[in-house]
C-alpha cells in the first residue's frame, strides 16, 4: 500500500467522494430508483450530493415526498419553490385510505399515526411506482438501531428489515442484486454526523427550511416539549396556553410531533455554535422515537426508513 504524506484530505472531502460513489453505484445497478425527499436538512444535503454526482446531467430519478399532510406550512412552501427552481421531478404520496379514515396525530397516538401516514404510505408509494431502490438521508449517528444499518439496506417483498439477514458490506463494494418485488434502501449519508451535515450546509451554501433558524413562534409546552401551533388544526389540551417564544427546530417532521428548542441562532454558523455547546442529541425532540425502548428498530422492521 502506497502512502503519501504530501496531501492531506479533510474528512468532509472523503465523505463527499464516498457519498457520490454510492449515489452513482445505485443508479448504475437499479432499474428504477427514487430519492425520498423529506424537506429536512439531510434531504437537502443528499440532494446537493446527487446534483454533484450526475452533473452536468439532470437527476436520473424523481424525488418522492411521503406527505402526512401534517408537515409545517413552511416546509410545503420550501418544497414547492425549491423543486420548481431546479426543475426536479417531484412525486407526492399520501395514504388516502388513512386520510379518509381521519387518522391524525391527536386522536390516534404517534405510533398508529406514524405507521399509517409514514410507513404504510411509503410502502404504498414504492409499490405503486415499482421503485426498486430508494435513497434516504438517514445517518448512523442518529439512533442506536441506525448504527447497525448498512449503506445498501435490503428489504423483502413487504418492505421489511431484518437485522439478522443483512448482507455483509465490505470495502466500498455494495451488493445491489434483488429479485422482483424486493427493494433496497440506500443511505449515502450513513457515515456523516449531524455536525458534518451542518458544516457541509455552511460550506456549500445549501438552502434549508427557515424553521431551522430561531424566530418568534407560537408554542405550547407539552410533556417537556415545545410544540408549535402551525395551523388551526392544532388541538390544545386543557390548561395549555400558547405563547410566543424564540425557538427553532433541530429536526423537522409533523408539526404536532416535533419539539422546538429555545434558541437565538439565526444563521448556520450560530446553529453550529449552539449545537456544539448544547450537547443534546437531535432526536430528543422527536416524540415518535421515545414511545418505548427499541422503538425505531420496530418501525424499521415494519418498513419505516
Amino acid at each position: 500500500m502506497s502512502e503519501s504524506t504530501s496531501a492531506r484530505l479533510s474528512h468532509l472531502t472523503v465523505l463527499e467522494a464516498e457519498s457520490i460513489h454510492i449515489l452513482r453505484e445505485t443508479v448504475a445497478e437499479f432499474a428504477n430508483p427514487v430519492m425520498l425527499y423529506s424537506i429536512g436538512k439531510d434531504s437537502q444535503v443528499l440532494l446537493h450530493l446527487a446534483r454533484k454526482a450526475f452533473h452536468p446531467a439532470p437527476l436520473p430519478f424523481p424525488l418522492l415526498h411521503v406527505d402526512t399532510t401534517w408537515k409545517f406550512r413552511d416546509m410545503y412552501t420550501f418544497r414547492d419553490q425549491f423543486t420548481a427552481q431546479h426543475g426536479f421531478r417531484l412525486l407526492v404520496h399520501q395514504n388516502r385510505q388513512a386520510l379518509a379514515a381521519g387518522i391524525n396525530p391527536f386522536d390516534h397516538g404517534s405510533q398508529k399515526y406514524t405507521h399509517a401516514m409514514k410507513t404504510q404510505a411509503l410502502l404504498e408509494a414504492l409499490a405503486q411506482h415499482g421503485f426498486d431502490a430508494a435513497f434516504g438521508g438517514a445517518r448512523r449517528d442518529e439512533e442506536k438501531s441506525r448504527a447497525k444499518e448498512r449503506v445498501f439496506s435490503f428489504r423483502d417483498r413487504h418492505g421489511q428489515w431484518d437485522p439478522r439477514r443483512q448482507r455483509p458490506e465490505l470495502w466500498n463494494l455494495y451488493n445491489g442484486r434483488i429479485d422482483a418485488g424486493e427493494s433496497m434502501r440506500v443511505f449515502p449519508l450513513s457515515n456523516w454526523t449531524e455536525l458534518d451535515v451542518w458544516h457541509y450546509i455552511l460550506q456549500e451554501k445549501i438552502p434549508v427550511v427557515p424553521l431551522y433558524f430561531a424566530a418568534e413562534r407560537p408554542v405550547v409546552e407539552r410533556s417537556g416539549n415545545l410544540i408549535m401551533i402551525d395551523d388551526e388544526r392544532m388541538r390544545l389540551r386543557p390548561g395549555e396556553k400558547p405563547s410566543l417564544k424564540r425557538v427553532r427546530f433541530r429536526t423537522l417532521g409533523c408539526y404536532p410531533l416535533s419539539g422546538a428548542i429555545e434558541s437565538s441562532a439565526t444563521t448556520v454558523g450560530e446553529v453550529i455554535l449552539e449545537m456544539v455547546n448544547a450537547r443534546q442529541s437531535e432526536r430528543q425532540g422527536r416524540l415518535i422515537d421515545h414511545d418505548e425502548e427499541g422503538s425505531m428498530e420496530l418501525k424499521k422492521r415494519e418498513g419505516y426508513f
Partner: protein
C-alpha cells in the same frame, strides 16, 4: 481530557479546526465479554461523542438494570460486581454502564451480546474517528471481517484474567489478512488483576509473538480498564510502569489515513454520463493514483489508448485530481467504454485475469459449492465465476493450512477462481481497492464471501501441479512468462492467423506453440509455461477451454490479440 467543555465562541475558528481533521477508521475486536462495548462507550463518553440526553438515558437504564440485578441475583453479572465495588468505595466517580451506549438492538440487550457490526463516531483534537464495533462471538466472524475491511487501525481486547484466547489470535489474523497496518492490543480488566505488570507483560508477549510475523507495520500494547478508564484517554496512576501512553494518544499519533494517490492510476468506470449529443463523460471514483488533463491513458480490457481532455466536477473543470475523489473524465477519442472498464496510465496497468488465486472469508449459510454459479463484484464490474478449487482452509485454532474441499460459514481459505470475463485487478497487498471483491450467490443474491486477490492462478506454489517437482514460480522465472491457453475465434480464417500470431509472439521473445483439437494437450503445455494458441471448432473442446483460458475476440486484429495475450502475463519479476 474533555476538550470541548469550554464553550466554543467563534464558529470560524472551530470549523477551521474541524475541517482540517482527518478521517481515521478504527475497528475494535475481541471475544465476548472482553469489554468492547464498554471500551467504545468510554471512548465516546470521554471524547464527546455523546449527548446529554443519551447519557441520562444510559444513567436511567444502568439504575434499572442494577435494581433488577439486585432483586434477582446478588452476585451475578459484571454489573452487580461493579455495583458491589461501588458500594465498597473502590470505584472513583460516577458508575455508568458504558456498554449501554452501544448495544442498540433489542436482541442484543436481551442477550447481552453484540450481534451485528455497528458504526460509531467521535472526534479527537486531530481526528474524526469512525469506529466499527464488531461482534466477538465466533458465529459472527464475518461481521468482524466486515468491520475490518475499511479500517486503518485495529484495537484487540484481551481479558487480563483469561489471557490470549483462540478468538484473540483469530481476530489478529483476520486483521492482518484484511491489511490493517496498525494494531493495538488492549489488555483489559487490569483492575481485576491489581494492575499486575507481570500479567500484562505475559499476555502482551504472547500476543505480540503471535502477531509479529503477520505483517503489521506497528503493534502496541496498553494495560487498560475500560470500566474504570485507565490508559484509555487518561494515563493511569495505577500503571506507573507503563510507558506506552494512552490508547487515545496512540490513535492521535498514527500516520494519517492511507492515501492511494501515490499508487498507479486506477479509474473503474462507474457510470456513463450522456446528457446530450455533445457530452460523453465517464463518472467514477479514482480508486488510486491521480490523473491530469492531457495524460495519455489506456482503457482496459480493450487496451484502446486515448488522452484525458477534461476532469469535470460540479465545481467546474479541474486540471488534476487524485484518489479518492469522485469525478467525471472526458476523453479525446470516441472510445467505446462502459461500466466496469478501467482507465489507467500506460505504464503499470493492472493485471487482466480470468483465473486467479484469492483468499476468501466465507459468509454464506450454505457452504461453498464448486458446481454452483457465483458472481464476483470487483470494483464496478460484476462477472459470473466458478470456484474451481479450494486449495486449503485456515485452521483458526493454530493458524495452519489444512486441505479442504469446501468452505463453510466463517471459514477462511485460499481458492482458485475462474471468471467468465477478466478482472482488471491488482493484488490486495498492492492495492486494497482493486484487490478486493465480494462473492454473490447468483441464485439467492446473498453476499457469500469477501475476497482478497493474491495473483494469477498457479503463480503462488506447486500445490496445483500434482506430479511435478517444478513450481510454476520456477518455470516462470526460467521462461519469463507464466503460460496460458488462448482460444482463437471460431472464424474460418483463424487457423491461418494462428501461425501469424505464433510468429509475432515468437519474435517478441515468447515461448509459444499452436495446438489443434486436443484440450488435454493444450492444458498440459500451458502448465509448463508455454503460450498455447488453441484452434478448434468443436463446441465441446471450446467450452472446456473457455473457462480455462482467454477467448480472443474475433473483432480484434493481430496486434490486438498480441496485446491481450501479453496482458494476461504478470509483470516480469525483478
Amino acid at each position: 481530557m474533555n476538550t470541548s467543555l469550554q464553550p466554543v465562541t467563534d464558529v470560524s475558528v472551530f470549523l477551521a479546526s474541524h475541517a482540517d481533521k482527518e478521517l481515521l477508521r478504527l475497528v475494535v475486536v475481541g471475544s465476548v465479554d472482553d469489554g468492547k462495548s464498554t471500551l467504545i462507550g468510554r471512548l465516546l463518553y470521554e471524547c464527546d461523542g455523546l449527548f446529554e440526553d443519551q447519557i441520562s438515558a444510559v444513567r436511567r437504564a444502568t439504575a434499572k438494570r442494577a435494581a433488577a440485578a439486585d432483586g434477582t441475583n446478588g452476585n451475578g453479572g459484571p454489573l452487580a460486581q461493579g455495583l458491589q465495588n461501588a458500594a465498597t468505595g473502590t470505584l472513583p466517580g460516577e458508575e455508568l454502564d458504558f456498554s449501554l451506549f452501544t448495544d442498540g438492538l433489542r436482541a442484543e440487550r436481551e442477550q447481552g451480546i453484540t450481534i451485528d457490526v455497528a458504526y460509531r463516531y467521535f472526534s479527537t483534537p486531530r481526528r474524526k474517528v469512525i469506529v466499527a464495533d464488531t461482534p466477538g462471538h465466533i458465529q459472527y466472524t464475518r461481521n468482524m471481517a466486515t468491520g475490518a475491511s475499511t479500517a486503518d487501525a485495529a484495537v484487540i481486547l484481551a481479558d487480563a484474567r483469561l489471557g490470549v484466547l483462540p478468538q484473540t489470535r483469530r481476530h489478529a489474523y483476520i486483521a492482518s489478512l484484511l491489511g490493517i497496518p496498525y494494531l493495538a492490543v488492549a489488555v483489559n480488566k487490569m483492575d481485576m488483576v491489581d494492575f499486575d505488570r507481570a500479567v500484562f507483560e505475559r499476555i502482551g508477549r504472547e500476543l505480540a509473538d503471535f502477531a509479529r510475523p503477520l505483517g503489521f507495520t506497528q503493534i502496541r500494547l496498553f494495560p487498560v480498564s475500560a470500566r474504570q478508564g485507565d490508559n484509555i484517554t487518561q494515563a493511569s496512576g495505577r500503571t506507573p510502569w507503563h510507558e506506552g501512553g494512552t490508547l487515545l494518544a496512540w490513535l492521535e499519533s498514527l500516520p494519517h489515513q492511507r492515501h492511494l494517490d501515490a499508487a498507479p492510476l486506477r479509474f473503474p468506470v462507474q457510470y456513463v454520463l450522456r446528457p446530450h449529443q455533445n457530452y460523453r463523460g465517464f463518472a467514477g471514483q479514482i480508486a488510486s493514483g491521480s490523473v491530469r488533463v492531457g495524460d495519455e491513458v489506456m482503457v482496459l480490457p480493450s487496451q484502446r489508448r486515448t488522452r484525458v481532455t477534461a476532469i469535470d466536477t460540479f465545481e467546474g473543470t479541474q486540471e488534476h485530481q487524485r484518489a479518492p475523489h469522485s469525478v467525471t473524465l472526458r476523453l479525446a477519442d470516441e472510445v467505446d467504454i462502459s461500466r466496469g472498464d478501467v482507465i489507467t496510465h500506460l505504464e503499470q496497468p493492472p493485471a487482466v485475469l480470468h483465473q486467479l488465486e484469492a483468499m476468501l472469508v466465507w459468509f454464506g449459510e450454505q457452504p461453498l459449492d464448486r458446481s454452483r454459479r457465483y458472481l464476483v463484484k470487483h470494483t464496478t464490474r460484476t462477472v459470473p465465476t466458478t470456484i474451481e478449487q479450494v486449495l486449503w482452509r485456515m485452521d483458526l485454532e493454530n493458524l495452519s493450512e489444512v486441505p479442504a474441499e469446501s468452505l463453510s460459514l466463517n471459514d477462511i481459505g485460499k481458492v482458485h477462481l475462474v471468471c467468465k470475463r477478466p478482472l482488471l485487478c491488482d493484488s490486495y497487498r498492492d492495492n486494497r481497492r482493486t484487490g478486493s471483491f465480494i462473492v454473490i450467490d447468483a441464485l439467492t443474491h446473498d453476499t457469500v464471501a469477501a475476497g482478497m486477490i493474491l495473483g494469477p492462478a498457479g503463480a503462488s506454489a506447486g500445490r496445483t501441479q500434482a506430479g511435478s517437482l517444478i513450481t510454476a514460480e520456477e518455470r516462470r522465472a526460467r521462461l519469463g512468462q507464466s503460460g496460458g491457453v488462448f482460444l482463437l475465434p471460431e472464424a474460418p480464417e483463424a487457423e491461418e492467423r494462428a501461425f501469424q500470431l505464433e510468429r509475432r509472439l515468437f519474435d517478441l521473445g515468447r515461448h509459444v506453440t499452436v495446438v489443434r483439437g486436443d484440450t488435454e494437450v493444450a492444458l498440459a503445455l500451458a502448465e509448463t509455461g508455454l503460450f498455447v494458441l488453441f484452434h478448434t471448432t468443436a463446441p465441446q473442446a471450446r467450452r472446456a477451454l473457455r473457462d480455462h483460458g482467454l477467448a480472443l475476440e474475433s473483432s480484434t486484429d493481430l496486434d490486438g490479440w498480441v496485446r491481450q495475450i501479453l496482458a494476461t502475463q504478470e509483470r516480469p519479476q525483478p
